[in-house]
């Protein structure tokens, strides 16, 4: 069964992966990081990504119908040279974490990464 580091290293094997982290969106704490971060600082990246994740998670506009957590699956950002994929992790205990994958746009495959990251998020907490 993978731990946090194994999970992030697995994410880094996706084509185009530049950096990956596990972030708590209430506090903005990075619980694990591998690879690079935009701007070179994982802590700043974690705080900014947490901000985005929290806003998306707390606004009812984006939630699926029903009350079952987590409210969201992914937040996807694209820019001129990269993608950011935030995958909410659904845990059986109380938590507010997501996996953040930073993907180069040239080599990356967003659809594949989205499916794989979802599988990794499940394996991380379900075994």
């Amino acid at each position: 069964m993978p731990g946090i580091d194994e999970c992030l290293l697995e994410a880094m094997r996706l084509p185009g992966a530049r950096g990956a982290s596990l972030v708590d969106w209430t506090s903005g704490l990075a619980l694990g990081t591998v690879g690079d971060a935009p701007g070179g600082d994982h802590e700043t990246t974690a705080a900014e990504a947490a901000e985005l994740a929290r806003i998306a998670a707390e606004h009812g506009t984006f939630a699926a119908h029903g009350d079952e957590p987590p409210p969201l699956e992914d937040v996807i950002i694209s820019n001129g040279d990269s993608y950011h994929l935030l995958r909410f992790v659904d845990t059986s205990f109380d938590s507010s974490v997501f996996l953040h994958l930073w993907l180069g746009r040239e080599e990356g495959n967003l659809a594949l990464a989205r499916i794989r990251l979802g599988e990794m998020a499940s394996r991380l907490v379900l075994g």
Binding site: M1, G28, E58, F93, D94
Partner: protein, 275 residues
Amino acid sequence: MVRTTPPALPVRDKQNTRALSPMLTRLAEERATGVLVREHGVLYLAEGRVVHAESPHAPGLDVLLTAHGTLAGAAWQRAAARTPGPLHAAELLLDSGVLPTGALELCHLDALYDAGYFALAPSSTPGRFRYDSAPRLGPLPSVPVVALERETLRRRLLLHRLWPDPAADSAPLIRADPAAGRTPAAGRAPAAPVAPRQRAVLDRVDGLRTAADIARNLGRQAFHTLVDVRRLTAAGHVSPTAPAPPVTAPLPPHPVTTDPDIALLKRLRDALEAL
């Protein structure tokens, strides 16, 4: 009504070299192994790294894992009975494979940073360190002292930005508006919307529970609960109850009964019943 966005999450200040506990800094430098007991919590160090933390203000790993059935309470108790402390119990659970590694690591880190935040809170008494070979670097992740200190400072700043008054952190909480949760009366502005995780906190505000009680009740990290409590306070949903006035009334100089034997026997009975 457009909701005002809460202030941005602060980033750790790497330039800030102010140590929260000079003793802890020294212990980290000498790569000490042992137990640091402070007023609001305990840090377990192995080779200068924090391997485990406990605080009466934060729910333990056992609460986080069992509150929502991730782990059966009996399974934790079996592991705890066979081991000297919660960290060892968690390692035993990891070994036995009853929990996914990632889930256990995540809960362990959550609990460590959570209790560590309170353990490093300003204290009125000096900490005591006991050299002890029991804490060791094990299979669960450990955290450098400096990382825990920086994160604790960042969390203090986060709470301060959300709502600068810490009174709601420790006092019993009360709903600021008795009509909260009902349809607002005609002509009254609706209260700011409450996010689902905040709603769980708000639902448990009853005039008696403190944030720590609510955290335990929810099986949620105490710091997460404080974030929601400060935000609910800032939005006007919740306020701390006024501290109880200190008991200044002098005790009656004599027991009501004038017979000294009966008065003594009554006090003795009351004391025994209180045991």
